[in-house]
Symmetry: C2
């Protein structure tokens, strides 16, 4: 279904723009993703938006998206570049903006045997870090990201952008720590934390599968009692003055070590 | 020299606040760094700010900074929390804000034998990525960061913050590509690029020392003619749908591989 909106005060435009705020995303169960690259990644995963906004782009990827939407009888809205900028909150709007249904996988529906690596983030505060961790998860063949405690919203515009489409390829779960631990201990899975207090270098252990890589808050790291529940605590060598890496960087260095061990096995 | 400023319209406050903009940083050769952790890291490197602003913090690290400034007869300015917020552009100001002289190392003053790893970034656009790469450089014992072409300003508030103090421990160089290549080829040094076109896995080569790790622009990667000038082109395994990693993540995965090879040697 194709239609056209050219009025700034159109209620749908206002509603879509409101999805830049967490409370409206939560209330609607919807989120925004922007740009041909990310929307195409989603389409290739078989995921189409509930609504697609464009300003008449003739780019082949935009045309493919529109065709896929029309074939599925989905809502395609032609609008002006100015309104597209208003929705995306940026002066240079992307060619397309999609409104997607959020997709959270409950703990009990995670197929832990489906991947060798899972990433667990605790109280992650930075949406760029969260999106970057999703992107890294995709790269190392992780199954998904499990968010425990009070993490930043994975469906924020900034997180979606940093994920570069991995938000659509990685499963996303939100859980309380107790629920996560109970679920984890009900099946196979090695919980690996990185900690300044660790005595093992991160390249020392032979990691098991599935491995659950636990990443702590950017400023505080992991709480001591969470560390105590890990099967392994490891640390990366730090040759300089600083005692820690950026959270997304630490996750990637660990995740590639896990992947490299599986590749050698 | 300690003094007090309580007026919002004080010319010094306006001048310091202007350092949030690149043109004023460039004109003055000064930049801002905020927070006890980063300023203490700098102090431990023997680097004191030209001016230190605080709002009467009783934190021991703030007291140590103030004492070091007074011992060196440097400018310590007591101000109000509101003015500190105004300078730092945030509602929750840090306890201390320092104004530092910028520190750029010319190519010809780089001691390439002084470190096994050097990082070279080309047209990097994101200040968070730049700061994170500095932080990773510190962690792997890199000598410094060489910025070629039109990179984002390493002295922006966001870059300084993401570096977590590594801006003070890593040397920073800005150079045109031709000048960098001429300097590089006048001495020992292996130039290693990451590329989608590479045929070698990043764990395959035995890297030489000093290694110069070349990182490309976030969206475009490296220009083809820059890749052609690399001694080695390698790629990280990508197991998912995406074909690339975040620039700071890719740098870290490569940099830890270099470090791990040196650790084993």
């Amino acid at each position: 279904m194709a239609r056209e909106i050219t009025g700034f005060s159109n209620p749908l435009i206002k509603r879509v723009r409101s999805l830049r705020e967490k409370k409206f995303r939560k209330a609607e169960g919807l989120f925004l993703a922007e740009g041909l690259r990310i929307l195409t990644e989603a389409r290739e995963e078989g995921i189409l938006p509930e609504m697609l906004f464009h300003a008449g782009s003739t780019h082949p990827l935009a045309q493919q998206l529109i065709a896929a939407m029309e074939a599925a009888d989905c809502d395609v809205i032609l609008t002006t570049p100015d309104i597209l900028s208003k929705i995306s909150g940026k002066d240079n709007a992307q060619a397309v903006v999609g409104v997607y249904r959020d997709r959270v996988t409950p703990l009990e529906r995670i197929d832990r045997a489906g991947a060798d690596i899972w990433i667990v983030a605790q109280s992650l505060r930075d949406p760029g870090n969260l999106g970057t961790i999703l992107r890294t998860g995709d790269a190392v063949g992780a199954g998904g990201l499990i968010l425990v405690d009070d993490c930043v919203d994975p469906f924020s515009v900034e997180s979606v952008r940093a994920s570069m489409g991995a938000l659509f390829t990685q499963s996303i779960t939100q859980a309380r720590w107790e629920d996560f631990i109970n679920w984890l201990r009900a099946g196979p899975g090695q919980l690996i934390g990185t900690s300044l207090k660790a005595t093992h270098d991160y390249q020392e252990p032979a990691y098991a599968s599935p491995a659950f890589l636990l990443v702590g808050n950017e400023a505080q790291g992991l709480p001591a009692d969470y560390e105590a529940q890990c099967d392994l605590l490891v640390k990366m060598p730090m040759m300089g003055k600083a005692d820690s890496l950026n959270a997304a960087v630490a996750t990637a260095v660990m995740a590639y070590e896990l992947l490299n061990q599986k590749r050698r096995a």
